[in-house]
Subunit: 384 residues, 4 copies
């Protein structure tokens, strides 16, 4: 018998969490994602802006150290010998910047939910904070963690579909078809906390990020027609956006929270001079690839046709579906590789890819441009 | 034994055809569609603009009377006692008006392929000609003949999805991904014969017509970003269009001929305050209906959940798929009912519905507006 | 102008029909199938076993010659100079043999609905009658007319999936889940008219024929467990059958009329040493092909990957779905080619393929073996 | 700030593992499943039958206590104050019994992979050992952990589809289409370690268990036709099985490892007098429900139509796919609830359901019956 593992020896990264208290949604997702591959250990938290709730939620989770607020947490953890090395920020959007800043400036890595911030001003400040910090910043545009999204990106980069012409991305949901007052709906439809974008901020940024991630292209300008269909709603719940990418590709982006029959139907289609690729988040283990004039092919996660960039993020054989949590966990896995390399003063392997603070800034710019364009009757607005 | 059917007794409508010679595509489709339900008998034709080819093609089809050109045919048939009662016009677009006029003014019903004409000026003249004629005019926007499209239209009219908010319609194909020189490609990419619109004219008009047909709404304005991706192509092969409908609904229309992996992927999705409907041309026997907050339901042609407007256009039981030709034949079936009522000096049953010359005008206006908007950097253009 | 087509010049085959009166189902399907490609002209009929109904139905269809019964029709038509060249027999099963015999012995080609007969004795007599006649016999196992079924057959023959190991074929329906008394249900559940098999005869024979057609294999023996689930039903409404094919392949066949949610869900899957093929009747324009260890490929009718045997039976481009009626019409098309060759004293092109009287005999043997096996507690029964 | 969580306070169950060393597959799955919901902490292991490999593998996982063999582990852990409370047994099948016995008799709960054992004799002994132990026994027939499988079970129990008539279950794979020599293939095709069943043992038991779990029915007898298609293979790689259930329902089961194009295509269809249910493991978030004569409905995990038994095992909203690992983790979640109740001397809530040692025995009986039946030319064999 051999005994005696210390927690250090396990190599797990000590993680804290800001936000994610009892009635939150995405906090729980981050905790599962961090835990799935055993690379993180959640040890500390400031889980709510209400101190009592923060304490109560942290104790319920069995955390070792529970704080009343994130600033206190940042200060104390930074002083501890075995304080947290990274923090997950899973608050409503308007808190992201203030929270991230406290940890970044103390050298604690930040894993932050999207969109980056609720305002463009905050986003720019956060970029500065992140880029001048001695710490990493990872944004959880989790859909980029799906293996078949990586496969698509790789195939585009390899030229398998040739020069890109058309990008169709959509992200319809139906959960806000009627007025909703529960917590998740409430803050997401409040511009003070969510930002000026509604569907554009909450899901449009995902769609936009996914399109850019897979194609490797940046949009140069957009024209947006936003609507708030539900009476009294202060932010858009449906967005129709035309996109013009560098190099001449054109695109359409549709985000909606009022499309009955759509649960979380993020879908990307990319067409080039030589072929097409199609991927759907609700069926994420598959990627359709059509070389022009050849039969459509179904590439499966970990199956025939899938390459290294997809397979390194897969855990189980093809036909054993991985889903949303595994895709989310892949972002944590990339973060872990980057943090471990940072520990060692090295760079992670080139295969390690995660959304950055710049990607987050691009998302906030996307929202701002949508809102601006829509206010000008869908006039074209430059991005950057 | 009982003998002696005269052709008259059969009640078949005597039909002529303009265009549709040996190497045409849509002419053959019209002939099958006219024949499928045994309501028409094709007896005469001027099948090509080249007299020899017209004669040769007509004889190959075993027609009773073959003409060198459509004008000759119109004049002579009008004088015959048992001349044609109706004519199908299946030429390239730029010939539609001139041909239709000759028959309409002689009281011969016209069944005309879409788009109505190659120019807006011609379209307006054709509306006048049709509306002042003692004859019917039917436009073969054939997708409105699919039973489940009728079902969708009925459900919208019944209020099953409530007031409409969002209309997503798309019609991607891939057959023009590269330069093509065969006949079907050649005239469709020649603005002299096809009109100023490429994908917008050939398939965008179908998509637009379908959206209006099902929703019962008219678009008030549009903003379009058109591209000709294939070098040297003179008309658009991809179109991204924002739509604003009367009453506040918003929509997106995408037509493309350069999207590899899409054969003929016309698809309509309509979302209202109470539910959603989704239909796809490549899987036409099904209609998805989601009442908000209830499970999605699959309504099948002639099956559970389908109503009279769909069932009256169905021939075989559910699970025995009907397709493109049957949908097309349904337009001929509607035409036959209207013509038979016309014979009797009555009106057809209220259930009889077919695309009219006004629908055709709307399609040509749609193309013109797309071209105009795109030339102005996707500025909004009013329709009407 | 050129005038003067005689009916002869058109080349259409003069066709009669036995059965298919007013309230029949399959008769109407045969008429559309015969008409679709304009190769037949229905001119005579004995449409019902009730003389008045026969006359009434024939006149309603506008037939030139209407008979009170099929024998009268066979005798008189055989004497006419322009009598029918072929007859479609679309009666309930128990009439097939008697009717077919009358026409075959007078040199009139027979196109007969399936199953061949209601008894094995009749089937054997019909084989004799057909094989000694100076006329052709075509059995409408219509599913063999689907282009992608031809494609599958071709690929098996080409060795694309290697030596066959496993054949899974199923044909579930739900229309007899409860007791039904309308005409179609009534005779199909009456062993006097339908034969000893219920689901096995009506749809199991289709499934069995399809499996043999595509694989090119014959079953050597079967073990069947039949049920009549609906109280009072005299024939099976569900059949579970194990199959052993020559050469060692094994298979399963499931037919059911009591499987709610299945409309007409005939489906064939064939697996060999090198790959697999999957086809579904409700989605007939597609064939899935998986070469072992490669991505699954979607071969589409008239599209990339489809070969001549499929394309020669296609009318419209890929993405324009063809369905049940077109597949059925393809059997009529094959019949027409064979009959035209017969007229000329030649053989049809080798590509012409249709189900024969021997295939029909195999189907009746299949039913008999199922019934026999089931009566012996699913013991193995040899076929042949 | 509040500090001081002890591991005990966390409530995590201390877990050991037998098997699951470096090159294993299912061990890693169990570890993720145990970790996902943070209810277990893996602290000890004997991960290989080779002592050095066991030590090396355990250290690589950072386990606190690593043993050379499972007996040593059982003895020592049972004596420790904070020894393991439960052990996961993830070895090849032939080791299950011997390992389980050591832990059960010392009051350590066992979570064991399927099939229960490699022989029927072992299975019976294990039932005795489990039922006489002061410890729980949970078998990881993980597919019963999928929320929509629970939904199906609930609906059957509620009578939503009426009395069951037909059960179609299949589990095709393709990974053994050719001879394979890597570890996972090697022991699974060795009857000494796997048991007499090949595909029947490895996946047929899953299919059989799933059918029984959802329907609540037991099979009374079966007739099986097994094949080993790959030359030299000692166990079946394809199985065709007829099933007769108590109460008169009939079924078919197909398991195959040689069906190219099938990755892990477990699929269950159940038809009753009033409706049908269909579920597919590769698309596990959906359940199709067809009430007879009504449109098919799509019930989604955590979405409209899903009830408590499904929702209590769901983590994320509908449209955010959960997969294989989440379903597997649900078995661990059920185990955790049962173990926590055991700790407290109570029973878990009635909603807690997991496969038992008796289910395992039924699986081994199923394999034995298949082998016996097949050796007797597919004669019927009683299942107890």
């Amino acid at each position: 018998m051999v005994t005696g593992r210390s927690e250090e020896a396990s190599g797990r990264i000590r993680l804290g969490m800001v936000g994610g208290g009892n009635d939150a949604f995405i906090g729980g997702v981050h905790r599962i994602a961090a835990r799935l591959d055993d690379k993180f250990e959640l040890v500390a938290g400031a889980l709510s802006s209400t101190p009592e709730k923060s304490i109560e939620s942290g104790q319920a989770l069995g955390l070792e150290r529970v704080y009343e607020d994130f600033k206190q947490m940042a200060i104390r953890e930074a002083r501890l010998k075995s304080g947290i090395e990274a923090v997950s920020i899973v608050t409503p959007n308007h808190v992201h910047y203030a929270a991230a800043r406290e940890f970044l400036k103390r050298g604690i890595h930040v894993i932050c939910d999207k969109p980056l911030t609720s305002t463009l001003a905050d986003a720019k400040k956060l970029v500065k904070a992140a880029e001048s910090a001695n710490a990493l910043f990872i944004l959880t545009h989790n859909y980029t963690g799906y293996p078949m999204v990586r496969q698509a990106r790789e195939m585009v980069a390899n030229g398998d579909i040739g020069k890109i012409r058309v990008v169709q991305v959509e992200y319809p949901q139906d959960w806000l078809t009627e007025q909703q007052d529960f917590k998740q709906a409430e803050w997401r439809t409040d511009p003070e906390r969510s930002g000026a974008g509604g569907s554009t901020g909450d899901i449009g940024t995902h769609a936009y990020n996914l399109a850019c991630f897979v194609t490797g292209l940046k949009a140069e300008s957009l024209a947006a027609d936003l609507q708030a269909f539900v009476p009294g709603r202060k932010v858009d719940d449906n967005a129709h956006v035309l996109l013009r990418f560098e190099g001449g590709a054109r695109g359409m982006l549709w985000s909606s929270q009022v499309a009955p029959g759509n649960e979380n139907a993020l879908r990307l289609r990319v067409y080039g001079e030589k072929g097409g690729l199609e991927w759907s988040q609700e069926d994420p283990n598959y990627l359709w690839f059509t070389p022009y004039n050849e039969p459509k092919r179904l590439i499966t996660r970990n199956g025939a046709g899938a390459g290294d960039p997809a397979n390194r993020l897969s855990r189980v054989p093809p036909g054993h579906p991985e889903g949303y949590l595994e895709g989310f966990a892949n972002i944590y896995g990339e973060a872990a590789e980057a943090i471990q390399a940072f520990r060692n003063g090295t760079s992670p392997d080139a295969s390690v890819v995660y959304p950055t603070v710049r990607d987050g800034l691009n998302g906030v710019k996307f929202v701002a441009a949508c809102v601006q364009s829509s206010s000008k009757n869908a006039a074209w607005v430059k991005l950057e």
